[in-house]
Symmetry: C2
């Protein structure tokens, strides 16, 4: 299947191209900047074509991933040139206009799927990510895309373009607008945010983190989300009204009204108790991880970088709320605590099994005749540090005393010292090592 990603040289489009390539599709990217396009083509191992229309004509699926303000123009250019039986997708943050225009301009026999992936190019897999689809009609293509996404763990939501845009006027327009305003205010006041964190509860820190997350987004995308959603201005006007009324109440000292309004506002929230629980748990998880790290100083730990996926295993030399210092062999590695996750015992062991060289040992021992080599093998395999164990020989005969049997086990270990542990175990049960 040939898939073209228009605007696949950067940002989300590039992510989509790389993802689909990894899924085994033949992918072509287009983009106005030829140098960027050829670089991306080389890095992702996909085709680059400078001509949107030419690429679209040859494709089974065309995905438009360009800035919102260019989306309608690209639809006008590409939609009429789609070939029969193909699918046209856009991934813009507003859906009403693109959906309408795509439907209007595609030839008969071409399906349309307006889409809004609720994630950015920083994610590493689709698992757990929300994808909103707003098809105007059912089609075989829509069904295929839904199954494809669900199979990869995405949470797929099918709705109408209008409902999508109304929801986004709150989910995105309102929250972005309010959070950017908070950050602007803090900046204007000249407050040292780092210092303010020391004064505050963990939940304030989590609030600041969510504000930072919004404000550090691509500002061009943030702008487009504000101005291209046709409910956006109404929502912002509503917010400004709320802010002004609230300030008015406070200035006039209308305590009872303030209290009534705040209780009224709280009623809009769906399940406050669940919100408290979830945010408490999020805080708990972050604190617990730091506690685990503090308790692990001087011991071996595995730290996984949450974005690159790289794992660093070594002895933890020191840790503070910002940095962990690890000794890996002769190197010293300094890692930002916010970017790493501590592997649990099983994860660390799995990593070692996959990544460290193993040594294989054989050990022969004499046991009473009635023994069960399989049970002994499973005890050996259950020892900390043994990757696997097998029975390779069972011998009874001349060189073995009467009533005894000699069993030879082969086992693989990562740390050298484990051989002595296995030997000690067998001897402990009275076996005679040969």
């Amino acid at each position: 299947m040939n898939i073209t990603v228009i605007g696949g040289t950067r940002g989300l489009g590039r992510w989509i191209a790389g993802f689909l390539k990894g899924e085994g599709f033949r992918v072509t990217i287009t983009g106005r900047d030829r140098v960027a396009g050829e670089n991306a083509s080389r890095e992702l191992g996909v085709e680059y074509c400078p001509d949107n229309v030419r690429a679209a004509r040859d494709s089974d699926v065309v995905i438009i991933s360009v800035p919102i303000e260019n989306t309608l123009d690209v639809i006008r250019e590409v939609a009429p040139n789609m070939r029969r039986g193909s699918l046209l997708v856009d991934v813009t943050s507003v859906k009403e206009e693109p959906a309408r225009l795509m439907e209007e301009l595609v030839p008969e026999g071409v399906d349309v799927l307006p889409t809004h992936p609720m994630f950015g190019p920083r994610i590493r897999s689709l698992a757990g990510q929300v994808v909103v689809l707003t098809p105007l009609r059912k089609s075989r293509w829509v069904e295929r895309v839904v199954s494809f996404l669900k199979d990869r763990g995405a949470r797929v939501l099918v709705t109408s373009p209008e409902k999508h845009d109304r929801m986004m006027s709150v989910v995105q327009v309102l929250t972005h607008f309010a959070y950017i305003s908070i950050a602007l205010t803090i900046r204007d006041l000249g407050v040292d945010v780092g210092e303010s964190r020391r004064f505050a509860s963990p939940i304030y820190n989590l609030m600041l983190d969510t504000i930072a997350r919004i404000v550090s987004q691509n500002p061009y995308l943030a702008y487009s989300i504000q101005v291209y959603n046709r409910y956006g201005e109404r929502v912002r006007r509503g917010f400004i009204g709320a802010v002004e009324r609230l300030e008015d109440l406070l200035r006039r000292g209308e305590k009872d009204d303030f209290v009534r309004w705040m209780s009224f506002a709280a009623k809009c929230l769906d399940d406050v108790e669940a919100s408290l629980g979830r945010s408490d748990k999020a805080i708990f998880a972050l604190n617990k991880e730091l506690d685990v790290l503090k308790d692990s100083v001087g011991r071996e730990v595995g730290l996984k970088h949450i974005y690159s996926g790289n794992v660093h295993v070594g002895v933890l030399e020191s840790v503070d709320p910002d940095f962990a210092v690890l000794r890996v062999g002769k190197r010293r590695v300094k890692l930002k605590v916010s970017n790493i996750r501590v592997l649990d015992k099983d994860e660390l062991w799995d990593w070692k099994v996959k990544n460290l060289p193993r040594r294989s040992y054989d050990i022969s021992a004499m046991f009473p005749e009635g023994c069960d080599p399989e049970i002994i093998r499973s005890v050996i395999e259950g020892l900390d540090g043994v990757v696997k164990a097998s029975v390779i020989d069972i011998y009874k005969g001349d060189q073995i005393p009467l009533g005894m049997v000699s069993v030879t086990f082969r086992f693989e270990v990562i740390d050298r010292g484990v051989y002595e542990k296995v030997k000690g175990l067998l001897e402990g049960f009275g076996a005679i090592i040969r």
Copy 2:
């Protein structure tokens, strides 16, 4: 040591009274409502005294925990009556005025410690909680309180009343004001918040949770925080200015200015990368827990209520993002996922060891003479389901074949089936059970 908590019948004051009682102090609470006072007195096991002045005269430490608007009056009533060598503390959310007034009115030889605990009465321990102290002078009492709090795991921050109030004008005034306004807007728009969550990324859900947390606070306290912080109005004015300027830019389509302002706003944040990391990790932890639950359907799990601390152990029958249903013996228990934490394997085992009845078994077996009973014991104790094992007898003699030794182990288990596992293990190594 006698400690009086003025306003100890409700809210944070009540929490403080219960906490100090648990720490072994003699605690008296006061409060205007005699019925509430006597109820709290009975429930907490502390004294109740309806007269603030009388209680204060008899105390080594007096803690004023009343609404902000009453704090200054209570200080005027109590401070002049403190006895020599005692300590006067208040726990109000603003610090400049109370600090000044307490210092002015206490007799010589009385120490003053203006305090702001950055937590509410929902917490279960001081560990990890922030307590801001704003003493105007050093004193032996201040040192004692700092050590007391630190010993219990609190994060103690000592600063000036002015700096505290300036920081709180951002940490509390600004964030509360903005979040209440967001909630009011959502309410005015008539958006179904529960439905909007389905449309959104996990981070939006975490944002909503932090908004819910702020908006569901005590509205009287929220009001007081807005109006009694003397920097509050300036901060709110700044926010309103930011909101209006931002809307103005958007309405005029000033994209470049918007982008410049947003980038400017982002610069106020201390470490965006760390913010992204922490919020990603918080999300990861919440998602991972749900995944663990989903993978555990049909199996035994331990679920701990995050507020009550109660643990429910049983077979997980079903789970969705809202509820988990557990079969505990013959009962079916339905628990809110947001309020529970899944115990890990070690925690579950520790809970069982503490809470379930144990059975004790003895087993005697003959091993080759060269065996080491201690090693065998440690293997038995390491088996899943064995609480502890000991060697209670070692016998060599008439009834035992030459070259053999009989060892008797005693071990405690929780599940009945474990005896067979131990027997199988020993037989597997060729031992003969007697």
